[in-house]
């Protein structure tokens, strides 16, 4: 017997304010009553509470998301569907989206990360695309803390466990460490897919009388209230909410990918959507609302893994690896046969109805009936914002510049900071080659995937320097997009568009909300300049532990198009004797730099400023030089400045460098001034290169040696590649084998 008789009555829900424990505020509850014209019952209250959570409704961030440019000549699908789609020519398109799984990963890191990957893959293949790559953007606390090491180890295993098994290469991402993430790691996963235009699918329930089918894994009590849970701050209490843990089954999802991609070719398919956060409620109500229709669903027919599940539990369950599809009436058997071949069940559970309601039937009774669009129209919240005192102080702070006596020692120390160290300990655990399309593996600026059957490639990257954003969210927001675009350009790609994952603290805090506002403004402005629309994204708020918010971390995921893989570039030097150029001049900009954080233990002052017009102009010039074949290698200067970039360019090679500067050594080596590149150019093409890239200054040449020699007016620095590289490579594995 279901336990529905134990549920409180509509009156009790109102009088005892039970809706509050479910996550609805007073005024939201009143709005529900108004929309329904009556008091909601327990199931209905549950539907609203989960759909009106921040995670599902974006009620707080909506006003900010409006600032993003979402249109462009390549945009086939902007925000609002499972994932965004951009045209890449030849009737092909690229599909991508990023999503956070921060809170689940803080509780159960392996499964939290694994199901995060599973969820974002479903978003992509539900559009009709074959997933071709995964990227992961990760933030953890201090590696000296054993809990942090546990989280790091398990999150990476979880991503590897899911991505490797399902056979989608994990080709790139980010990994940074900072104390602000000690209790609240960030686990953002991005998936990229490729499709033909004609295969485009949307999550809509069109056609009155059409059949609603449930496919994939059966429903258990997993993650009930998971979506509302993700919208709350983590506290000690979270430990009790153990039902929120969902277990991923990548094998099931692999079958689901193949079956759904077969389904995509079938003319009977009308709409398809994955059951992500808030499972059945969100998929059913969104599909109905988008098409301006209703859905009648019989819950007795839902495949169930556990006994005695109530309508509330079934609708809110977050069991993984499930999809909801709408098909033309009469084609049920054909559709079942497609899934049966892959050992999966497809079950007809409802139909599309004219009346615009989501109507749920259970054991012969209607247990819930709510207007389809009501669930998707949470009242928007306009939060107050306030300039943080710290920001004002940082803006007024004098320019920070350290006195450094041991330049070589400082470079060594910098490169062995976990954030700058080699990420090989992580990337070796990921199958980054499966599907045999990975042209540039993790380790360069952007990863590159070939589009099979063409000479085209897709470059992809995730970027966000949260320290800059913490100091100045407007400037930092611009830089996040600019750095992503620069990474794409370094590989020979033309930036096409972005997806974003907005990770912040509690928006009720006006200072946090101000940071959100400013950083989104900055990102939006940069997107306009680079003509890279925002085509999808995700918001993760309440990233706090014990009222300590994370640094604002709006991660940018960008994809670019390489029109000819024959003109691909990477960061590594290629030939002895090539000329080395530094593009762009360094100014003493150290606020939020890796050097400042290493020496001071914290960021302060102003971050580097960025001139977006100059940035764009340089990107165009560098890209043009790459496309004309004038360069051997290109690397952008980012965290750690020229020192880190030069090291990157010789690591893994048999080369060194001989460089001469007339500038100040500390500024030249460690400043994080924007819009700069390190480029190597064949001697014979120097003229052509110089004519193409303004602001390129000849600095020296690639040598066949174990040293990077840097000569300044006042002194010389000699860096030994073998020793530096060995230590740089060993940082993470060394930290992870630490005792206890």
């Amino acid at each position: 017997m279901p336990l529905t008789h134990l549920e409180p009555s509509p009156e009790q829900i109102e009088q005892e304010k039970i809706y509050r424990t479910m996550g609805l505020t007073e005024s939201e509850y009143q709005e529900v009553v108004r929309l329904l014209g009556r008091k909601p019952n327990y199931t209905e209250t549950g539907l609203f509470s989960v759909m009106w959570s921040e995670h599902c409704s974006y009620k707080t961030s909506k006003p900010l998301l409006k600032l993003f440019p979402t249109k462009g000549k390549r945009v086939l699908q902007g925000p609002g569907e499972g994932a965004g789609i951009l045209d890449i020519g030849d009737d092909q398109a690229v599909v991508f989206k990023i999503e956070s799984h921060n809170h689940p990963s803080a509780i159960e890191p392996y499964q939290g990360a694994a199901t995060g990957v599973g969820g974002i893959i479903r978003d992509v293949f539900s559009m009709g695309a074959r997933p071709v790559a995964i990227l992961d953007s990760l933030r953890f606390g201090d590696l000296n803390n054993s809990r942090v090491r546990y989280l790091f180890e398990e999150v990476v295993s979880g991503i590897a466990g899911y991505g490797n098994c399902i056979g989608i290469p994990t080709v790139g991402g980010e990994l940074q460490f900072d104390d602000c993430y000690n209790g609240n790691p960030l686990v953002n996963a991005m998936c990229v897919g490729v499709m033909k235009h004609e295969d485009l699918q949307v999550g809509q329930a069109r056609g009155i009388g059409n059949t609603v089918m449930y496919v994939g894994a059966s429903t258990g009590r997993d993650g009930i209230n998971g979506a509302t849970f993700a919208s709350e701050e983590i506290s000690a209490k979270s430990d009790e909410k153990r039902s929120a843990v969902q277990v991923g089954d990548p094998f099931m999802e692999k079958l689901l990918v193949e079956a759904c991609l077969e389904l995509t070719k079938h003319e009977a398919l009308v709409g398809i959507q994955d059951m992500g956060a808030a499972g059945l409620v969100s998929s059913a109500s969104e599909m109905a609302a988008k098409a301006g229709v209703g859905i009648h669903m019989n819950l007795d027919l839902i495949p169930q893994r556990e006994t005695n599940m109530t309508p509330y539990e079934m609708m809110l369950s977050e069991s993984q690896e499930r999809m909801l599809i709408v098909i033309k009436k009469g084609s049920e058997e054909e559709i079942k046969a497609i899934f049966a071949r892959w050992g999966l069940h497809a079950v007809a559970v409802g139909e599309v109805i004219e009346e615009e309601v989501l109507r749920l039937e259970h054991k012969g009774k209607i247990v819930a009936e709510v207007p389809s669009d009501a669930l998707a129209s949470a009242p928007v919240r306009h939060m107050p914002s306030r300039v943080p005192a710290e920001y004002t102080a940082n803006q007024a702070a004098p320019v920070w510049k350290p006195e450094i006596t041991d330049l070589a020692g400082t470079v060594h120390q910098l490169l062995t900071q976990p954030t700058l160290a080699s990420k090989e300990w992580v990337t070796r655990q990921y199958d980054y080659m499966v599907q045999t399309n990975t042209v540039v593996a993790p380790g360069s600026d952007a990863a590159v995937i070939r589009v099979r059957g063409t000479k085209k490639g897709l470059a992809m990257t995730t970027d966000c320097n949260a320290k800059y954003i913490d100091l100045d969210p407007l400037e930092g927001g611009k830089i996040a997009v600019a750095e992503a675009a620069r990474n794409i350009v370094c590989s020979g790609g033309e930036p096409l568009g972005i997806t974003d994952c907005l990770n912040y603290g509690t928006p009720e805090n006006p200072e946090v909300f101000w940071e959100m506002e400013q950083s989104v403004r900055g990102m939006a402005e940069a997107c306009r300049v680079f003509e890279t629309p925002v085509i999808s994204g995700n918001v993760s708020l309440y990233n706090e532990t014990n009222h300590q918010a994370i640094d604002p971390t709006p991660v940018v995921g960008m994809v670019g198009l390489i029109d000819d893989l024959g003109r691909l570039t990477t960061a590594s030097f290629k030939h002895e004797g090539d000329a080395i150029y530094v593009v762009g001049e360094a100014a003493p900009e150290f606020g939020g730099s890796a050097l400042q954080i290493m020496l001071d233990g914290k960021a302060s002052g102003k971050p580097p400023v960025i001139d977006l017009q100059l940035e764009k102009k340089r990107q165009d010039e560098v890209l043009s030089a790459i496309r004309k074949g004038y360069v051997s290698s290109v690397h952008d200067l980012s965290e750690g400045g020229l020192a880190a970039a030069a090291a990157d360019a010789v690591f893994g090679t048999e080369f060194g460098a001989d460089l001469h500067f007339e500038t100040d050594p500390v500024t030249e080596l460690f400043s994080e001034t924007q819009s700069r590149y390190l480029v190597s150019v064949p001697e014979a093409l120097r003229k052509e290169f110089e004519a193409t890239v303004a602001g390129a200054v000849l600095a020296g040449s690639v040598t066949r040696s174990e040293n990077i020699e840097m000569h300044f007016v006042t002194e010389s620095v000699s860096l030994r590649r073998p020793e530096l590289e060995k230590d740089w490579r060993g940082v993470l594995s060394c930290a992870m084998s630490a005792k206890n």
């Binding site: 466990g161 098994c165 056979g167 094998f251 199958d431 499966v434 070939r450």
Partner: protein, 230 residues
């Protein structure tokens, strides 16, 4: 030469193998669904890598009971080349077509990288285009590639030159004697953890794996291939 690439649920290198043969080698190739029961008409059989049945329980354990497996065993008995790569190797071990078993990597983590292999035996139908002791670069990607067999088995493998590839340099997974690939007594069934199909296109970093497929093709051309294709 017509090659079969077996498709198990959860296999994920089936397409990679398919393209290595179709585009890299330029030969005829077809997918064969795990529930099929015959491999008649095929000249060679490829069991690709991946996570058949999610690698649940033990890698390869469930796949060996698939409907196609009796046909794979028959093909092996008939002397057709049978190549199992990564998960395919694990399936061949579970099915008893090759001796030994796989343990978790000694460092317990999945490992993906391009490694150097030493061609221990180039007098096989799979390796005739390599030089003896040649060092080649081929990617690996596995969590359970730590090959184990008992001393007696190891001795037979050695005595009969059935160790085809070993890891050169660091042993990436702790396998016995750094074994990366072994063959059966008759020499027509090869199991290897490294992925030659991932090294069949220079654009992706190495094409050292292509010669393995070309060796199979040469063998087929040289032998009385009419016997296979009856």
């Amino acid at each position: 030469m017509k090659t079969a690439v077996i498709v198990f649920p959860g296999a994920n290198c089936d397409q990679d193998m398919y393209y290595a043969i179709k585009d890299g080698l330029g030969e005829d190739v077809e997918y064969v669904w795990h529930a099929e029961t015959s491999l008649d008409g095929f000249d060679a059989v490829m069991i690709p890598g991946g996570f058949s049945y999610g690698d649940y329980l033990r890698s390869g354990a469930i796949a060996r009971f698939a409907g196609i497996m009796p046909a794979v065993i028959k093909a092996a008995q008939e002397g057709k080349p049978v190549l199992g790569v990564c998960n395919g190797f694990q399936i061949l071990l579970e099915a008893g077509l090759l001796p030994g078993a796989m343990l978790k990597n000694s460092h317990l983590k999945f490992i993906c990288e391009t490694v150097r292999l030493k061609v221990e035996n180039n007098e096989t139908l799979f390796t005739s285009l390599y030089k003896k002791d040649e060092i080649i670069r081929i990617p690996i990607a596995h969590g359970e590639g730590n090959y184990y067999c008992d001393d007696a088995t190891l001795k037979t493998l050695k005595d009969n030159h059935r160790i085809v590839f070993t890891y050169h340099g660091e042993n990436p997974n702790g396998s016995r004697e750094a074994i990366a690939g072994i063959m059966n007594r008759a020499g027509n069934v090869l199991g290897m953890m490294p992925h030659p199909e991932r090294a069949a296109d220079a654009l992706l970093g190495s094409d050292d794996g292509l010669r393995l497929f070309q060796s199979i093709l040469n063998h087929w051309r040289e032998s009385a291939h009419a016997a296979y294709t009856s």
